[in-house]
């Protein structure tokens, strides 16, 4: 018994020292945020935005007990277990980015049935009835369209452009390409998508297909769009090596950290993505509005006031373009126009 007591005592002390964390405030609104995983700069940026919104709401006299926690690595099972555990604490709202759209449906439904407002952000669950709102960082239509707009601004309305994508079967990339085509035919009839190559989301492959494109269309290609964060830096590198830096427009989807050097050198003038800080910020405002009843699930024509972002519309139905045809999103709140990272603003971001 001596050993057991000693062991338990040691454990008690170790835990108490380690856990002298924040106490649980009474009667405050409990808002929990569960990202796909915590160890990533991207999700840390959403946390930063969320905490900013919490601080603003507190400044307006709203008591909030906010907790940001999630699996340490992207693990669906750990995320399900953590959400289920957190539901026992009866939060007022829980904000989730789903590692697996389908597997998280039962636990989201369970939380919703327990009277908790369930908001998804960044990655939705498969069943829209399992949550109240999805805070969408950018539909395929918006993001694909923004990439074409960048090409039009930088290379003219009759530009000839090519795409370096990931895998030929990649759903996201194919959906963005479908949205690009739709934007071209709707707004820039003289613009031409001349070729699509696939770098399989491998750096070396992406680099060599970019070189192929540059050599094949030498002088006849105005822009290359890479809608994948693996290919975009490699396309920029290939353009630099071919001596075309600044002469050919290179743009695409990637993160500031991956693209910083190319943006500063001017090889890439604009990188398109969304702002994860704003995404986390909006998600907290949506959660708060859902708790207070300012946002009601399923009602058309509603809007949410989101601090410095202004007003965002909540839509019961939103049409999007995907590789598998049109898709209707239900109960979504759009973050807004995709964000453009440029030489001027890229140093404000670290993800």
């Amino acid at each position: 018994m001596r050993y057991i007591r000693g062991f338990a005592l040691a454990l008690t002390l170790a835990l108490l020292v380690g856990l002298a964390g924040p106490g649980q405030a009474q009667k405050a609104l409990k808002i929990f945020m569960v990202p796909k995983f915590t160890g990533a700069a991207y999700f840390a940026a959403t946390e930063k935005g969320a905490k900013e919104a919490v601080a603003e709401l507190k400044g307006r006299g709203v008591a909030i007990d906010f907790l940001y926690t999630g699996p340490s690595v992207a693990n669906t099972d750990e995320e399900i277990r953590m959400i289920d555990d957190l539901v026992a604490q009866k939060p007022d709202a829980i904000i989730i980015s789903a590692n697996d759209a389908e597997a998280l449906v039962p636990v989201a439904k369970k939380a919703k049935a327990a009277g908790i407002k369930v908001i998804t952000y960044d990655a939705d669950v498969a069943d829209p009835t399992a949550r109240q709102w999805f805070v969408n960082q950018g539909t395929f239509t918006l993001v694909g369209g923004a990439l074409v707009d960048v090409v039009a601004e930088q290379a003219g309305n009759s530009a000839r452009f090519a795409v370096v994508s990931a895998d030929p079967g990649a759903f996201n990339q194919n959906s963005w390409i479908a949205a690009m085509k739709a934007r071209v035919s709707a707004k820039y009839p003289k613009m031409q998508l001349v070729d699509i190559r696939y770098g399989l989301d491998k750096p070396a492959e992406s680099f060599s297909v970019a070189q192929d494109l540059i050599n094949k269309y030498r002088g006849q290609l105005d822009a290359i769009i890479a809608p994948t964060s693996v290919a975009l830096p490699k396309v920029a590198e290939a353009a630099e090596q071919a001596g075309l830096a600044g002469k050919i427009v290179v743009t695409g989807l990637s993160t500031p950290n991956d693209m910083r050097e190319f943006v500063k050198k001017g090889t890439v003038k604009t990188v398109v993505l969304w702002n994860p800080v704003d995404l986390g910020y909006l998600a907290v405002y949506v959660a708060h509005a859902t708790i207070t009843g300012a946002l009601k699930e399923g009602m058309a024509k509603q809007s949410v006031r989101a601090g410095r972002l202004g007003t965002r519309e909540a839509t019961a139905q939103l049409n999007d373009i995907t590789a598998k045809g049109p898709l209707t999103l239900r109960n979504v709140i759009l973050l807004g126009a995709p964000f453009r990272f440029t030489k001027e603003n890229i140093d404000k971001f670290n993800f």
């Binding site: 338990a8 454990l11 915590t38 699996p71 669906t76 099972d77 277990r81 604490q89 697996d100 636990v107």
Partner: protein, 346 residues
């Protein structure tokens, strides 16, 4: 029947009670029946797979393919159901597929004589790969409620999978301690050659162990699919390590010959309540991982310290004369314990 506990099991019970009290102090929700029962839903999947794993590790083997097998059998069930087979026959066929996968492990280990770690490391990749290939990358949804009840239903407030787990613990404990084959499993881990010379069909026991592991993994795969409402190829990713962690924490020695079902059950419960309680106490996941790892190393160190003392005690008295009994060499004819089992206090 008097319940006699090993030193390891006493340490584990102390650890379980100690961390339980502590977690109850840290979170007002932790020590409520609803929370504890809900937590056992997660314990049951790990705990079921840990039962045959305990026996396999006692026999100085390992089965790394258990989680992949869960995904494979769930996928098989899902695909059959999607193609029109009623859900329960589909589940039976899924379990049959998992049992076959386990038998295949056992066959290569026992008959072809490839080390278990190599075979199951290979099938860890193969079974997961087949599951991914079958699924085409998407999960199967929409199972009937009667099947989902296996993962989400309760009987008198107790989750269904918890009841299955308790039944499994009882069956496993009786098998391991009260049957001849159960005792031979300790023997295989302790001295396989001696057992072979005693005329015991070691290969058949080994084959049976891995087949049982396949069967139980497949059953856990069904429970998993019912709990998350999806049959998916990335199901239970990484579960094999949680299972092995629980078994080792429960006092089963990776060098074979030692371990109990009770210890494994306590190991599973400790990991479960730590994960559950620490999440409720708002401890970040990374810190939880560190704490659970520390508890594992700390607990295993206390087992070692004790084993050393026992050795001193055993060596000290004068060595008895050797007795030859049916080809077996016994140092102590009055010893009715299985080889490798720790001597209990009278």
């Amino acid at each position: 029947m008097r319940i006699r506990l090993l030193w390891r099991e006493r340490v584990l019970i102390g650890l379980l009670v100690g961390s339980g009290v502590l977690l109850a102090l840290l979170s007002d929700v932790f020590f409520t029946p609803a929370n504890l029962l809900r937590a056992t839903r997660y314990a049951a999947e790990i705990g079921l797979v840990a039962l045959p794993m305990t026996m396999i590790i006692i026999s100085r083997g390992i089965d790394l393919s258990v989680a992949s097998n869960m995904a494979l059998s769930a996928m098989t069930m899902g695909l059959l159901w999607q193609r029109g087979v009623p859900v329960w026959p589909a589940a039976a066929l899924g379990i049959a597929a998992g049992t076959l996968a386990g038998w295949l492990n056992g066959w290569v280990i026992a008959r072809v004589r490839v080390p278990a770690i190599v075979v199951t490391l290979a099938t860890l990749a193969v079974y997961r790969g087949v599951a991914t290939g079958l699924s085409g990358g998407t999960g199967i949804l929409g199972f009937p409620d009667s099947f989902l009840a296996l993962g989400a239903g309760t009987v008198a407030g107790v989750p269904i999978q918890t009841i299955i787990w308790i039944a499994g613990i009882a069956a496993g404990a009786v098998f391991l301690t009260r049957t001849a084959v159960g005792r031979y499993i300790y023997g295989i881990g302790h001295n396989e050659t001696a057992l072979r010379f005693s005329g015991i069909d070691v290969d058949r026991i080994v084959l049976g162990l891995y087949t049982a592991s396949g069967f139980v993994s497949a059953l856990a795969g069904m429970i998993y699919a019912a709990r998350v409402g999806t049959a998916k190829s990335n199901a239970a990713a990484g579960y094999e390590l949680t299972v092995i962690t629980a078994v080792v924490l429960g006092g089963t020695s990776l060098t074979g010959g030692e371990g109990t079902i009770l210890g494994t059950m306590l190991g599973v419960l400790i990991i479960t309540i730590l994960q559950n309680g620490l999440t409720l106490a708002r401890v970040p996941a990374a810190v939880q991982d560190v704490l659970i790892g520390t508890v594992l190393v700390g607990a295993v160190l206390t087992y070692r310290e004790r084993a050393g003392r026992k050795e001193v005690f055993v060596i000290a008295p004068p060595q008895p004369e050797l007795h030859h009994v049916g080809g077996r060499v016994l140092t102590d004819p009055g010893n009715d314990l299985a080889v490798g089992e720790e001597r209990r206090n009278p």
